[in-house]
C-alpha cells in the first residue's frame, strides 16, 4: 500500500522562469533577412504586377489586401482577368513541377470581389487639379483611375456614345461580358470620375480649348484608322473593315453579312472577327486567310486554337491580289506567298480563287495623327495607349495610363520624374527553388477555388508565408504576427537554416550584426 500523497511537493530545481529572458540573439554574427526577388510571372506580366504577393494574400483569404496590392499596377483585374492573354502563366515555374498556376483566374476573382464589395471611401476634399482624359479605352480609364486616386478631378471625353473604347467596341462579348465592364464603369463613376460621351475632341470641342480649361490633358484616342491592302475592289460593298464590323456588333447592331465569310489577316482583330462572324445566325462557313505561316501569326496562339476548334478554317501563305464582284458573290484572287530573309516573296504562278459573300479585312490599324485637327502641344504632351504605341494589347495600354498618371502626379508635386520601369533582373529559376521540404507544399493540380489555386504558388522570390522557416528554426526566432512570419532578432542565433530551406528563395544571409 503506497502512502497517500496529500500535497504536491514543490521543486524548483529545473527552473521556473522561461529561458526567453536569455537574449541569445547576441550570439549572432550573420543575420538572415527577408528578400524580394523578381519572379518569372512578374517578369512576364505586361503590367509589372506583384503577382506572388497578391496570390499570397488570396491564399490566406485577405482579399482587401490582395486588391490593394493588385491596384498598385492594375486597377481593372476583373477586365484583364478576361481579356489578357496571361503571359504570366506561360512563364510560371510551377509548370516544370506539374501545372502552371491559373493566375488570370485568381486575378479575375480579385476583380470580382472588389466589384462586389466596393464601398466609396471619402477622401480628403483638397483637389490637386483638373484633368481631362481624351478617350475612354484601357489607357484612358487607367490614367483616369490613378489621377482620381491621386486627388484630381477627372473628366473623360469619349467620341462614341458608349464608354469603354476598345473594351466596349473592340472586344467581342464572348471574351468580355459587358455586365462586368458596366459594373467597373459604375464604380469609376462613383469614385468621382466624370464621363462625357459622344464628344469628339477636335470636332465638338477643340484640343486647345481643353488645354485652356484643364490643368492636365491626357490623350488616349487609340488607333482606329484601318490599314489598307491597296488592292482593286477593296472599297466595294460587302467588304468590311474588322474594327467597323466588331464595333457595330458590339453596339448591338447586326452588320449585313452574307455567308460564306472570308477574314483576311492574322492578328487578334482578325481572330475576333472570324469567331464573332461564326457566332452570327446566318453564317455557316468562315475562312481566315493569312499571308504568312501559322507560327508567324501575331495573334495569341490560344485564340487561334479556339477559333480552329470552333470551326474556323485557317489558310496560310496566301496574299490577296484583287477582289471582284459577280452579283452578290465576291471572288478574291490569292497568290502563294512566303517569308524568307528578304521579306515576303509572292509567287503569282501559284494562285487560287476564293468565292464568298463577305470579306472582312483585318490588316491592322494605324495611328491617325490628324485626329484632333490641330497639332498637340509638346510642352504639355501626355499621351498613351495605342495612340502612341500603335496597336498593342489591353494591359500595355493600362500600363501606359498608369505611367502617365504617375508622371503627372509627380510633376505637379514638384518631384523628379519617377522611374516606373522594373529593374532588369534575372528572375528566380525553377532549379533555384528548394522543394525538398515538401511541407505545406500543395501537391494538388489546378483548382477551381481561387484561394486553393493561389495556394499552389511556389513564391519564386517572394515570401508566401509557407512557414518552412518557422518549422525549421531551432530557436523559435521566427514568429507569426498577423498570419505573417517575422524574424525575432532577440533570439536569432544566425544559424541560417531558414535561408537555406526557404522554398521560395525569399531570404538572404547578411554579414554582421545589424
Amino acid at each position: 500500500m503506497l502512502p497517500e500523497v496529500t500535497k504536491d511537493p514543490v521543486c524548483y530545481s529545473c527552473g521556473t522562469e522561461p529561458s526567453s529572458a536569455n537574449k541569445t540573439g547576441e550570439w549572432r554574427f550573420l543575420t538572415p533577412e527577408k528578400d524580394i526577388r523578381l519572379s518569372p510571372c512578374r517578369q512576364g506580366c505586361l503590367l509589372d504586377g506583384e503577382i506572388p504577393a497578391w496570390l499570397e494574400a488570396v491564399k490566406n483569404g485577405r482579399w482587401e489586401e490582395a486588391w490593394q496590392i493588385m491596384s498598385r499596377y492594375n486597377p481593372f483585374p476583373a477586365l484583364t482577368g478576361y481579356v489578357c492573354f496571361h503571359p504570366c502563366t506561360e512563364n510560371c515555374n510551377r509548370g516544370q513541377l506539374d501545372q502552371e498556376i491559373e493566375i488570370h483566374a485568381v486575378e479575375r476573382a480579385i476583380g470580382e470581389w472588389r466589384l462586389e464589395n466596393y464601398k466609396r471611401v471619402d477622401r480628403p476634399k483638397e483637389v490637386k487639379g483638373q484633368a481631362a482624359v481624351v478617350g475612354s479605352g484601357p489607357a484612358g480609364l487607367s490614367c483616369a483611375y490613378y489621377l482620381n486616386q491621386g486627388g484630381y478631378e477627372v473628366t473623360v471625353f469619349e467620341r462614341e456614345k458608349v464608354i469603354g473604347g476598345m473594351f466596349a467596341l473592340g472586344i467581342p462579348e464572348y471574351r468580355l461580358p459587358r455586365k462586368v465592364l458596366k459594373k467597373e464603369l459604375s464604380v469609376l463613376e462613383e469614385e468621382g470620375i466624370r464621363f462625357v460621351s459622344g464628344c469628339h475632341v477636335g470636332q465638338d470641342v477643340s484640343l486647345s480649348g481643353l488645354y485652356e480649361d484643364y490643368d492636365t490633358v491626357f490623350l488616349a484616342p487609340g488607333a482606329w484608322k484601318p490599314r489598307k491592302a491597296g488592292i482593286p475592289g477593296e472599297e466595294s460593298g460587302g467588304v468590311w473593315n474588322a474594327l467597323d464590323f466588331l464595333s457595330l456588333l458590339n453596339k448591338g447592331h447586326q452588320p449585313e453579312i452574307a455567308d460564306p465569310v472570308v477574314v483576311i489577316g492574322g492578328g487578334n482583330a482578325a481572330l475576333d472577327s472570324a469567331r464573332s462572324a461564326l457566332r452570327m445566325s446566318n453564317v455557316n462557313h468562315v475562312k481566315l486567310i493569312y499571308r504568312r505561316s501559322r507560327t508567324e501569326m501575331p495573334a495569341n496562339q490560344a485564340e487561334v486554337e479556339a477559333a480552329e476548334h470552333e470551326g474556323v478554317e485557317l489558310i496560310f501563305n496566301a496574299l490577296p491580289r484583287k477582289i471582284e464582284e459577280e452579283g452578290k458573290i465576291k471572288e478574291i484572287t490569292f497568290d502563294f506567298c512566303k517569308t524568307n530573309l528578304k521579306g515576303l516573296v509572292v509567287d503569282q504562278s501559284r494562285s487560287f480563287e476564293e468565292k464568298c459573300g463577305t470579306v472582312i479585312m483585318a490588316l491592322g490599324q494605324e495611328i491617325d495623327p490628324s485626329i484632333f485637327g490641330e497639332p498637340v502641344k509638346d510642352s504639355l504632351f501626355y499621351a498613351g495607349g495605342d495612340f502612341t504605341s500603335g496597336p498593342a494589347t489591353v494591359p500595355d495600354a493600362i500600363r501606359a495610363g498608369r505611367i502617365a498618371a504617375m508622371t503627372i502626379i509627380a510633376r505637379d508635386a514638384g518631384l523628379p520624374e519617377p522611374d516606373l520601369m522594373l529593374p532588369d533582373l534575372e528572375p528566380v529559376a525553377f532549379e533555384e527553388l528548394n522543394l525538398e521540404a515538401k511541407i505545406n507544399l500543395s501537391l494538388q493540380q489546378s483548382q477551381a477555388k481561387p484561394d486553393e489555386e493561389a495556394g499552389r504558388c511556389l513564391g519564386c522570390g517572394t515570401c508566401n508565408s509557407c512557414g518552412i522557416c518557422y518549422i525549421f528554426c531551432p530557436d523559435m526566432a521566427v514568429e507569426k504576427v498577423d498570419n505573417r512570419y517575422q524574424l525575432n532578432m532577440d533570439y536569432c542565433k544566425g544559424c541560417g537554416i531558414c535561408v537555406k530551406e526557404c522554398p521560395a528563395r525569399a531570404m538572404v544571409m547578411e554579414g554582421g550584426m545589424e
Binding site: S13, C14, G15, P18, S19, P474, E479, I497, V499, K500
Partner: protein, 297 residues
C-alpha cells in the same frame, strides 16, 4: 501538423535556450514536446540537453524536467511514471530524454531493464553520434570512419555503429521507431502514435550536430535529409519487435553515401576505400531491413 495553426502558444520550447546555432537536438525536442504536450514530464539524463535546458531559475521547456544521473535514465523514468500513477495522474506522458551516450553506452543497462519490464513511458534517444557535450568523444553510436576527440585526425572510429533498434526490437517492446529533424511531419506522426500506445516505447532521433560533425549550421536539415535519402538512416517503425514497416517509402535509387560523408568534416580522412567499406555496410543493413519489412508484410 498544419503550419497555419502553429504559433508560439502551441510550442513547448522557449526561445533563449543554450543550444548551438543550428542544433538538431533543440529542433528534435521542439517537435517532440509539441507532439506529446502539454501534459508532459521529462526525465533528462546527462547530455547536451542538460545544458540546453538552462541554468536555474531559467528553463527552456514549458513542462517539468527532472535531471538524473547518467546511467539511471531508464530506472528514473520507471519511478516517475509509477509515482504519477500512484498520485492519480496516470494520463501524464513521461518522456525520458537521453543522448546517444545515455542510451547506447552508459544508460544501456537501465534502458534494457525498463524495456524488459515494459514500463509505461516513452524513451527518446536524440542521437548526435558522439559525446558532443563534453567535447565530441567517441560513443558506440559514432559511425565508422568519423574522427572524434578520442580518435583525432588522422585516426578515426574503427568499429561500426551499434544497432540500437535491433537491441530494442529484441526486447519485444510495443513500439519503436526512427525519426530525424528533416521530416517533422513523419516524426510527429510517430510520436502521436507512440503516445496512444501503452508500455515501453522507444524513439531514435538522428539529430545533426554542426560543431561535432563539422557542418555549416545552415546545413542541419540538409544533412538530416541526406542521411535518410542515402539510406544511412532509414525511417521505419517496429511493432512488438516483429512487425517492421518503412514510414518514408524508400527511394529505389538511393543517393550515394559519398555525398552525405563529403558534406561533413568529421569524415574528411575517409578515402575511397573506406567510403566503399561504409557504403557496403549501409547497403547490407538496408537489405537486411528490407528483408524484415518484407517478411512483416
Amino acid at each position: 501538423m498544419k503550419i497555419e495553426e502553429l504559433n508560439r502558444e502551441s510550442e513547448m520550447l522557449y526561445s533563449g535556450h543554450n543550444a548551438c546555432p543550428g542544433c538538431g537536438a533543440a529542433l528534435a525536442v521542439r517537435y517532440l514536446t509539441r507532439a506529446l504536450g502539454p501534459d508532459l514530464a521529462i526525465v533528462l539524463t546527462a547530455s547536451c540537453w542538460s545544458i540546453i535546458s538552462g541554468m536555474p531559475p531559467l528553463t527552456a521547456l514549458k513542462c517539468p524536467i527532472l535531471h538524473c544521473p547518467f546511467p539511471s535514465a531508464g530506472s528514473v523514468g520507471s519511478g516517475v511514471k509509477r509515482g504519477l500513477v500512484a498520485k492519480g495522474k496516470p494520463d501524464t506522458t513521461v518522456v525520458v530524454l537521453a543522448g546517444d551516450g545515455g542510451t547506447f553506452d552508459i544508460g544501456l543497462q537501465a534502458l534494457s531493464g525498463a524495456a524488459q519490464r515494459n514500463e509505461d513511458y516513452i524513451f527518446v534517444c536524440y542521437d548526435n553520434e558522439a559525446y558532443m557535450n563534453t567535447g565530441m568523444q567517441t560513443s558506440s553510436a559514432t559511425p565508422f570512419g568519423a574522427r572524434t576527440a578520442t580518435a583525432p585526425y588522422p585516426l578515426f572510429k574503427a568499429g561500426q555503429k551499434k544497432d540500437i533498434m535491433q537491441i530494442m526490437a529484441a526486447h519485444s517492446i510495443p513500439y519503436a521507431a526512427t525519426a530525424t529533424v528533416a521530416f517533422p511531419e513523419d516524426m510527429e506522426e510517430k510520436l502521436k502514435k507512440a503516445k496512444k500506445i501503452s508500455g515501453f516505447r522507444f524513439i531514435h532521433i538522428l539529430s545533426p550536430c554542426p560543431p561535432g560533425w563539422g557542418t555549416e549550421s545552415a546545413d542541419t536539415i540538409q544533412i538530416s535529409r541526406l542521411a535518410v535519402n542515402t539510406g544511412f538512416f532509414p525511417l521505419y517503425e517496429i511493432r512488438d519487435g516483429v512487425s517492421w514497416e518503412m514510414t518514408l517509402k524508400p527511394d529505389r535509387s538511393r543517393i550515394p553515401l559519398k555525398e552525405y560523408l563529403g558534406a561533413q568534416r568529421r569524415f574528411k580522412q575517409m578515402d575511397d576505400r573506406r567510403i566503399e567499406i561504409l557504403q557496403e555496410e549501409v547497403d547490407h543493413d538496408w537489405e537486411c531491413l528490407m528483408e524484415k519489412v518484407n517478411t512483416a508484410d
